[in-house]
């Protein structure tokens, strides 16, 4: 018998199993005590079935994991394909490196989530409450100490130790000692540099200082010290390291935590309304560590003679030969775990002392925060394991093979693969493409681009800024690699670069100065830094250069110039259009 069914009813039956219940049946019934007063309800925990939990966690995990995948996988694939097609050598130990890269992605994912849940609430509470409870000098002291603490917690800082193991103590004694026996001091002065930057940045927020004089005043001594070191044959090798340290410090822990405090102080002083709040600290945090590391190098130069370093090295190698069995925390992955714990725990202890000791505040949702801190440590350890086995290994492998394109190297029997001119061009092109891809994949750049687009009412488009920064970084990395190929002094890149940047700074408005100088620090994240650093070191070793640092330094100055130039162009164009409209 034919029956008419509404199509809507039909769809409803096949797609969703619908039922209706009264809401009152779902909520708990009111409870009354003997006197007839209502008893407060107890909050019951939600009981979830397995499929509910899967549904809940699947999008949560996949979006966070994909964020890291997009940052790591394209770069790794690019390196591997280049090595395979152009250098005609497949990636050695591909399984180990792949596992390492997986550890990097998982580690960063866990670390970032831990940062959001565990460390950021601290930063927010301290930032908003500290200025009300302490006078300004106290706040600044804590900002400085925080700067030191966050430096240790920065994921990329572990790269320095990895890099140190490659340096030859005979050829570059001071570089060797600063990365091995005296690495604690190096990291400490980098931290102090960030601390000073945090103090200055906070004061700048408060009194609304222009960034321009700060840049001139802080960079002038840096350039002078650089020139002094570069002319001293024993210290020349340290220059690259010092400038690279500036890029290492401005990562995902330092920037938000120091910013939270700085903005909190500025708000309490009633000066937090400027659209530019938050810019400038990144620049300062990348300049002061350079100064600190250079000063430390000069200090060692005058206090520790070269023989002492050689003696220490000999003693250390003898000791290493004598002791066969190392403790579990001295060999990877145990050492990586130790490093991870060392990085996070002091920072957390410091934040807790400030919070409970000085502010006497309680933590909301303490359980979640503790879980976040646990994730931070876990993520940091996982990342460190992957850093050594994955990112650094891949970078140094490719880096050490690239010179095979134009000169004979040991690792490649059929090298050089190409005529000298073609080979050097290939190496430079590779460096350019690597820099471009790494920068475009950096999530922080996207955020910066959006801010700038809003700041300039759309005159400076997000995509324009991203292209400018990416082309700048790419050109910088290419220049850095050229420095290794032709073995010229890093000064020849830094001095003209910074002179150009100074001139452009003087010509630009305050907004573009802030954005331009910050863009360099933003682009060097926890994936790019280890990869580029390891590539440079491997490359330098293969061509017989003393050290492979300096690539990141070159990659910092180029985007500054690129963004400032673009800024001046945009201003000129806007002005011209305005004049055209009026006429």
């Amino acid at each position: 018998m034919a029956k008419n069914v509404r199509f809507g009813e039909y769809l409803q039956v096949v797609s969703v199993d619908t039922a209706s219940i009264t809401y009152s049946n779902v909520l708990p019934q009111p409870i009354f005590d003997a006197q007839g007063r209502e008893v407060p309800q107890k909050v019951t925990k939600l009981i979830m079935s397995g499929s509910d939990i899967v549904n809940l966690l699947q999008p949560y995990l996949s979006t966070r994991f994909m964020e890291q995948v997009t940052a790591v996988v394209p770069l790794a694939v690019f390196l591997a394909v280049f090595q395979w097609l152009v250098l005609q050598k497949p990636v050695a130990e591909a399984a180990l490196i792949g596992t390492g890269l997986l550890a990097v992605m998982i580690g960063l994912m866990i670390f970032m989530e831990g940062l959001k849940l565990g460390l950021m609430p601290f930063g927010d509470i301290i930032g908003s409450n500290l200025p009300r409870k302490l006078p300004l000098p106290g706040v600044l002291a804590i900002a400085g100490l925080l700067g030191i603490g966050v430096t240790y917690a920065e994921p990329a800082i572990g790269t320095l130790q990895v890099a140190g193991s490659i340096v030859d103590p005979q050829k570059a004694p001071y570089l060797y000692t600063m990365l091995n026996d005296r690495v604690t001091w190096t990291v400490l002065v980098v931290g102090i540099g960030v601390g000073v930057a945090a103090i200055l940045g906070t004061v700048r927020f408060l009194y609304d200082w222009s960034l321009k004089p700060l840049i001139y005043l802080s960079l002038a001594p840096v350039i002078l010290l650089t020139a002094y070191c570069a002319l001293d044959p024993l210290l020349a090798t340290v220059v690259g390291l010092a400038w690279d340290c500036g890029a290492v410090t401005t990562g995902p822990v330092t920037v938000p935590l120091v910013l939270a405090l700085g903005i909190g102080v500025a708000n309490s002083g009633g000066k937090g309304n400027s659209a530019l709040s938050g810019f400038g600290i990144v620049t300062l945090a990348s300049v002061f560590p350079i100064l600190a590391v250079l000063a430390l190098a000069v200090f060692w130069r005058f206090t520790v003679p070269v023989d002492v370093i050689s003696a220490e090295f000999a003693a250390k190698s003898a000791a290493a030969a004598a002791t066969t069995a190392k403790a579990w925390y001295e060999v990877p992955p145990g050492s990586d775990v130790k490093m991870g714990v060392q990085a996070i725990v002091p920072l957390v202890l410091f934040l807790m002392v400030v919070l409970f000791g000085i502010l006497r505040e309680k933590l909301p949702n303490a359980f979640i925060i503790v879980w976040g801190l646990f994730l931070c440590v876990l993520g940091m350890c996982t990342f460190n394991v992957g850093l050594t086995a994955g990112l650094a290994a891949l970078g140094s492998q490719t880096g050490s093979l690239i010179p095979g394109a134009f000169v004979g190297i040991e690792a490649m029997p059929n090298a050089p693969l190409y005529p000298y001119a073609v080979g050097t061009f290939l190496a430079a092109a590779f460096a350019w493409a690597l820099g471009y891809a790494a920068t475009m994949a950096e999530p922080a750049l996207n955020a910066l681009g959006l801010t700038v687009q809003n700041l300039t009412n759309g005159a400076f488009k997000k995509s324009m800024l991203m292209y400018a920064v990416a082309i700048g970084v790419a050109t910088g990395i290419m220049l850095g690699v050229c420095k290794l190929i032709f073995n010229f002094n890093l000064l020849y890149i830094l001095v003209p670069g910074y002179i150009l940047a100074f001139i452009l700074t003087a010509m630009s408005t305050e907004e573009f100065v802030n954005v331009g100088w910050d863009s360099a620090g933003v682009t060097t994240g926890p994936v790019t830094v280890p990869l580029v650093l390891a590539m440079g070191l491997g490359f330098g070793k293969a061509v017989g250069a003393l050290e492979g640092f300096g690539i990141l330094a070159a990659a910092s100055i180029a985007p500054i110039c690129a963004v400032l130039m673009l800024g001046i162009y945009v201003q000129w164009k806007t002005k011209k259009e305005l004049a055209g409209n009026l006429a």
């Binding site: 979830m48 509910d52 549904n55 809940l56 849940l117 879980w371």
Partner: protein
């Protein structure tokens, strides 16, 4: 002077969906496919996740998007169901959707549409 015209819309309901931050775009896309236009999105913060879900609550963003839009009363079921499915509202902590009756509504209506009705 010509008289200003106002057309009252009747048989109309307001549907509101409170959903995790970032999902409003997904809902809005589905709504456009259903022919529903002009959804409004507010931002808000929810509670209950931390209290009732424990550690699993970290997977839920307490920041919410509240997307509200008008639908024809006779199409409520169809659209309601679609929003439920697209928004994955059968997941714990995801959000909820509700319908409220409206007495009348008025807005700009393209003249060709008023003539057709």
């Amino acid at each position: 002077m010509a008289k200003r015209r106002m057309t009252n819309l009747i048989d109309v309901s307001l549907m509101t969906c409170v959903i995790q931050k970032g999902m409003a775009d997904t809902i809005n896309k589905a709504l456009l496919e259903l022919g529903v236009q002009g959804a409004t999105v507010h931002m808000g913060v929810g509670t209950g996740v931390r209290e009732r879900m424990g550690l699993l609550g970290v997977a839920v963003d307490v920041e919410r998007e509240i997307i509200s839009f008008m639908v024809p009363s006779d199409q409520v079921d169809r659209i309601f169901e679609r929003v439920f499915i697209v928004g994955r509202l059968d997941t714990p902590g995801m959000g909820y959707v509700y319908v409220t009756p409206l007495l009348q509504a008025a807005t700009y209506i393209p003249p060709n549409l008023t003539e057709r009705a």
